[in-house]
Amino acid sequence: MADILLGMKSITKTFPGVKALDNVNLEVERGEIHALVGENGAGKSTLMNVLSGIYPYGTYEGDIVYEGEVCKFNNIKDSERKGIVIIHQELALIPEMTIGENMYLGNERGKKFAIDWNTTYAEADKYLKMVGLTESSKVQVKTIGTGKQQLVEIAKALAKQARLLILDEPTSSLNEEDSRALLDLMLEFKKQGMTMIIITHKLNEVAYVADKITVIRDGTTIETLENHGPEPISEERIIKGMVGREMTNRFPKREGVKIGDVMMEVENWTVHHPLYPERKVVDNVSINVRKGEVVGIYGLMGAGRTELAMSIFGQSYGVNFSGKLKIDGKEIKMKKSEADAIRHKIAYVTEDRKGNGLVLSQSIKVNTSLANLNSISSHTVIDKDKEYAVAEEYREKLSIKTPSVEQLVGNLSGGNQQKVLLAKWMFAEPDILILDEPTRGIDVGAKYEIYCIINDLAAAGKSVIMISSELPEVLGMSDRIYIMNASKMIGEMKAEEATQENIMAAILQSGRGA
């Protein structure tokens, strides 16, 4: 008789305009490691946010049954009191504080107005030992590596008396050795009776630690697989569940576009992390793109795609660059300057349109002209009539739905904002466009329109690099596909050869081989 610790029953969560979760069911037995897998945006994180009370009771439909009773969590504190603790993908430690301070943040030992530091550090040391760390809890978090920081996160969770531990992509920022150590630690905890849910893209890890695997796709649970037998479950079997969607006519055809000479070449490109300069975020990557070609770069989140793109675009991310950048056959010595990149006819259309793409408090007009103000100015004086005309032209060309180009960008829908972002960069008249997740967070109709714009750009002889973590999109839109994983370029495929299965397989192989 299975001893069910947690049951999530028919969970449905809607955001304005999108159904993020649709009738999701999840059952976790006491003492097992349960893996949750699915593509980016499938709804894994949303499900965990529902479970931990980040989305409070009442904002979703369905029931959470934990230890036999229906839970109504209003915030994270409520779920933690029950022993449900999430360790998020991004480390939530404060670098300047000590390990001990971090572990008991919001959970301080002692009285309300007098923290008992002796108990704090003594208990912290105890939990650190449990996760196999020998560091004193009095050292600052910033002095230890990311692998150890992840272990501190786990110690922190243990200190909260966790009985159900949820690890969201725990190994995404760890190297192979640290990852293996972490997984072994999980197996050790399992022996001691801890129940765990692990969310991960790395299917070899799933096969290694998980007892059961639940596959989520497009906000619904597809299946739950058992992983008990002597032979671990095959990764191909998991992939089938993850990507088993049919592709119909979601991508407009690009016909009669002639692919020309090589426009841009990047050779042996290496970039280091700006805060941890010893860490490579892009490792010896070489790519090229031709005129009129759409090149897709596929990789899971954190693979180094954005870092690659931004470092090519005027070294706007990273430090200690090395490698060659050739445009039209000539090597370019680019300065650390975005303006310089624009002068060399490169455009980078960010994945984060609100964060670093658009000025939401300004009009469509101002945003459209921003990257190429000089072309509508003489002696630094802006020709406002010309600016208006340009904004109108792009409003029509990209069919941006708005009463007027004087409308503030912040008032537009996501799809229209994305079009304004594209308009800005098209107006900058680049030869090479790097589109980073160009369809993130926009509805299907707007996606189709964006794809049409990409096709028009290629038809006009531009070189397009499209970064995406949606496999169908990469397959449907690209002439050629690069596959990136763990900061390295691990494969290149022609569109005709590429399938979801062999791309996934390439990523898995590289993960194992390392």
Binding site: E338, A341, V359, S361, T380, A389
Partner: protein, 389 residues
């Protein structure tokens, strides 16, 4: 033009409406004393420094709600240095002015460098100057004078920054002043209709004819009223020329030039601006260099008005400038605000000061009222923006 449009445009120009209402309120409570020609003159000469400093503060605030706390103390220090140059050492006025400007540029470059390139938070970087300059200025003054103030300044200096153009006696019509007013009003009307016509010709969106006429009429009437009053108060105050000059130049920069646009986008979204090729560090640098230069101009007008340099000069000027901006609708988090809005804000505060003085309200209560007005203006702004969403 229907009533809905009228209401909408009133809401859009809320601070202007408040200014008119406050003015009418003081007309009643002071039995018309505030409407006398001399009070128009006082309003301009007493607040000239605010307009000039607030233009600089506006540019800083646009970049992301950054402020300069040091400008008031810098006025004190510059005044003392100017006094030492012109009065104590009897140096040529032109050379002294140039030297003061160079000192201002030097400080501006240093401050801009520290803030833009060393990334010292602006309020800390300028807090240092706020403390140091007052002390430095005071010690220079006491070293050079027994009374702690340096005077009198040479006539040619005073003539540049105070006094009247084409001065006439009080209550006699000053013809050049009125003529300048008529010319200015005419130019405003012509420019407004000309730009509307050009937009119509090119097929762009325009306001209705009625609202253009109303706007032109209000602007022209305001200019005419002020100049007509000044014409009976002895003529155009020299300092008005400086204020109008600064206001016009910066209105142009902020609304029509690429560098002005960059100030707005840096404040609106620094990262987006950077990734669009805007040199964000240079903009931060320019904001503080510009602030220091305008502080120098402001200092000249203050020295000339008091005809002396003393240790209390410039006290709280930084706060006056910030208040004028905030009341004038400049966003405290950056990215929005106009020179014209700031002018209305500064004038509103100036009118409240003047009216309360004329009513003989205790100086302490005047401060209370100013505090409440400041808070009220910002609360009004935030609440009315919230409703829109």
């Amino acid at each position: 033009m229907n009533t809905k449009n009228v209401l909408a445009s009133l809401k859009k120009n809320a601070m202007l409406v408040v200014l008119v209402l406050v003015y009418i309120f003081f007309m009643i409570t002071t039995q018309g004393a505030i409407f006398k020609p001399l009070q128009f003159n006082a309003l301009i000469t007493q607040n000239a420094y605010v307009y000039i400093l607030a233009v600089g503060m506006l540019m800083c605030m646009l970049t992301g709600g950054n402020i300069d706390l040091s400008c008031g103390s810098f006025v004190c220090l510059l005044g003392a240095l100017g006094g030492v140059l012109m009065v104590v050492n009897k140096m040529n006025t032109g050379v002294s002015i140039l030297l003061m400007l160079l000192i201002g540029i030097g400080y501006g470059c240093l401050l801009g460098y520290l803030i833009a390139y060393v990334h010292i938070p602006p309020w800390i970087a300028t807090l240092a100057g706020y403390l140091a300059f007052r002390g430095l200025g005071t010690s220079i003054l006491s070293a050079n004078s027994n009374t702690g103030s340096i005077a009198p300044f040479p006539q040619d200096f005073l003539a540049l920054f105070s006094g009247k153009l084409f001065s006439t006696k009080l209550n006699k019509l000053n013809v050049p002043c009125l003529a300048a007013g008529i010319a200015a009003a005419a130019i405003i009307v012509i420019v407004m209709f000309w730009s509307r016509a050009s937009r119509v010709r090119k097929g762009y969106e325009v306001d209705s004819m009625g609202s253009t006429i109303a706007k032109a009429a209000i602007a022209a009437a305001a200019v005419l009223l002020v100049m007509w009053k000044l014409a009976y108060a002895g003529g155009i105050p020299t300092v008005l020329v400086w204020v109008v000059g600064v206001v016009l130049i910066y209105s142009f920069i902020t609304s029509k030039t690429t560098v002005g646009r960059h100030f707005y986008v840096v404040g609106g979204n620094m990262e987006a601006a950077r990734l669009s090729g805007v040199n964000t560090k240079r903009i931060m640098f320019l904001a503080y260099l510009n602030m220091a230069v305008l502080t120098v101009i402001s200092t000249w007008t203050v020295m000339a008005r008091f005809q002396a340099a003393n240790s209390t000069a410039g006290t709280n000027y930084e706060m006056d400038a910030i208040s004028a901006c905030v009341v004038g609708g400049v966003s405290a988090s950056g990215g929005s605000g106009t020179v014209l809005g700031m002018v209305i804000g500064a004038t509103l505060i100036g009118v409240i000061n003047l009216g309360m003085s004329l009513m003989n309200i205790d100086a302490n209560y005047q401060k209370v009222v100013k505090g409440v007005v400041l808070l009220g203006a910002v609360a009004f702004d935030i609440l009315s923006n919230k409703k829109k969403k």
